[in-house]
């Protein structure tokens, strides 16, 4: 589904972090163009 797509992975400290999102998207064939984890508190 993500093959050939560009993905911006925005993670959250208390939820799913960007690295995990990026790893999943990359495994699905996406190109990660930005990967950042934020703290919302």
């Amino acid at each position: 589904m993500l093959k050939g797509k560009k993905v911006i992975a925005l993670g959250e400290r208390d939820g799913i972090q960007a690295g995990a999102i990026a790893a999943c998207a990359r495994a699905a064939g996406a190109e990660i163009v930005l990967e950042k984890t934020y703290c919302f508190v």
Binding site: D14, Q17, T37, Y38, V41
Partner: protein
């Protein structure tokens, strides 16, 4: 591990200051005000008066007037359902903004803060009635200055920032410490001075409440996140020693421990270790407020027609000393740590901070009566889409208990209710990470309601752009049998 002297936590106190007039100095509001017309007036129109901020049930929980569990059944929004409350409770107090500004001047050793004479007089009258404010403080407050002097200071040449009440009335200003040094800019010094005085007042309250001679404190460990220093040593630190000075701990020295939101728990572990080793006998762990976080989620509050609820500054002080046979014990043999190699997934973090120390002690998940984790008040975070942070964390602990087959998945909600807590802390960075429960935990561990409590905190190291890692630490505090 052989512990030479068992450390205990003797007390915890919080100092809350209602600071609606400083909300526009918060990082998010101040940046948005510069970029967008109308933001400042929208924020100012939604600031809470003193009474609702004092009565607000989560604040009453933080000062110990109510137990956190009382919030489970209090209808939301708490900003509308909170019954009247006192400004003082067994774990601390809430001060109005007039007193806060007076305290900023009292703690100002470099003539940075100028208060208008009429306001200074009103602040003096209010603070003269405060049981923790002494004659020396009132002398430091001074008579104030004419309005024209404040105009002059704001006109330069050194930068200065106005200080206003919730009403919009300008009552003074704070000047830069240097004409061009951004680390000594007015807003930076305002943050640091507020951190210093909120921590100092918490420490004064702690020592007075425990009837302890301030001179008997050996060491003060600062655990806040503010960077104190100048251009050549940004973040040089030791706000701890400045706080010790303000609290009359003349026999103490101090140091700051930095760890984002984990700071206070790292500091507790270090304090316990220093007591156990006999290096110091009585250590205060302090943390000042996080002024930058005022109004951080104002957009969500305005969008939902709520008041701007992030209007509270909080300082904390904890006391660690050798075993007195009564105070709850700090277990040094079960410090949960998030190793560099652990990975940053939530599961990895919680395994490091909860599962591993429990296993080391031979305990199951249900052997801990209460877990204290990030305790941010959901009423502050949900309107902006950040969710209920404490419950996210408790579900993860419940999930690990289910993975360990100690409970069945269907019991996770009941587990989180029994062993967890509702969020009640202002979004004050390190302050919100577990330690808001410490006063209640000490009460419960003393009176028999609890036997074991576990405190865990997470730190967002990646925000500083030096590593992608997060951090975490946990400590067990148990009844002194």
């Amino acid at each position: 591990m052989k512990v030479l002297r068992q450390p205990v936590i003797r007390g915890a106190r919080f100092f809350l200051a209602h600071a609606p007039g400083l909300v526009c100095h918060g990082s998010k509001p101040s940046r948005d005000i510069v970029c967008e017309a109308g933001v400042e007036s929208a924020i100012r129109g939604a600031l809470r008066p003193w009474e609702p901020a004092r009565d607000y049930a989560p604040n009453q929980v933080l000062i110990g007037a109510r137990h956190p569990d009382a919030l489970w059944d209090l209808p939301r929004p708490w900003s509308e359902s909170s019954p009247p409350g006192d400004r003082r409770g067994p774990h601390g107090e809430i001060a109005p903004e007039e007193e806060l500004y007076g305290l900023l001047k009292i703690g100002d050793r470099f003539d940075l803060v100028q208060l208008e004479a009429g306001f200074a007089e009103a602040a003096r009258e209010a603070l003269a009635r405060h049981p923790l404010v002494v004659k020396r403080d009132l002398e430091a407050l001074g008579p104030g200055v004419p309005e024209a002097r404040i105009e002059e200071r704001l006109a330069g040449p050194a930068p200065a920032a106005p200080l206003q009440l919730r009403s919009g009335r300008r009552i003074g200003c704070i000047a830069a410490g240097h004409e061009t040094d951004l680390t000594l800019a007015p807003d930076v010094l305002l943050e640091n001075l507020a951190a210093k005085m909120t921590a100092a007042m918490a420490l004064r309250a702690l020592l007075a409440g425990e009837a302890i001679d301030p001179g008997s404190v050996d060491y003060v460990i600062g655990s806040g996140e503010e960077a104190v220093g100048d251009r050549y040593q940004r973040g040089g630190g030791n706000l701890a020693k400045a706080v010790a000075e303000e609290a009359g701990c003349l026999g103490a020295t101090g140091v700051d421990v930095k760890g984002f939101c984990c700071g206070p728990l790292h500091a507790l572990a270090i304090a316990g270790s220093l007591v156990a080793a006999g290096v110091f006998a009585r250590i205060a762990v302090i943390g000042g407020c996080a002024l930058a976080k005022l109004g951080m989620k104002y957009q969500g509050h305005l969008r939902h027609g709520q008041p701007v609820l992030e209007d509270m500054l909080v300082g904390v002080a904890l006391l660690v000393e050798g075993d007195d046979g009564r105070s709850p014990r700090l277990r040094l043999d079960a410090i949960g740590r998030h190793r560099v190699s652990a990975g940053s997934s939530q599961k990895a973090i919680f395994e490091s901070l909860v599962r591993d120390p429990l296993r080391a002690l031979g305990w199951g998940f249900r052997d801990v009566d209460k877990y204290a984790t990030e305790l941010h008040n959901p009423e502050l975070t949900e309107p902006s889409g950040s969710g209920d942070v404490p419950q996210l964390n408790y579900r993860m602990i419940g999930g690990l208990a289910a993975l360990a087959r100690e409970i069945v998945p269907a019991d996770i909600p009941a587990f989180t209710r029994t062993h967890g807590l509702p969020g009640f802390s202002p979004t004050q960075g390190h302050i919100a990470s577990a330690i808001p429960f410490l006063g209640h935990a000490l009460d419960g561990l003393r009176d028999g309601r609890y036997r074991r409590t576990l405190f865990l905190a997470k730190g967002s190291l990646f925000l500083g752009r030096m590593t992608q890692l997060a951090d975490g630490i946990s400590v067990v505090v148990e009844r002194n049998d």
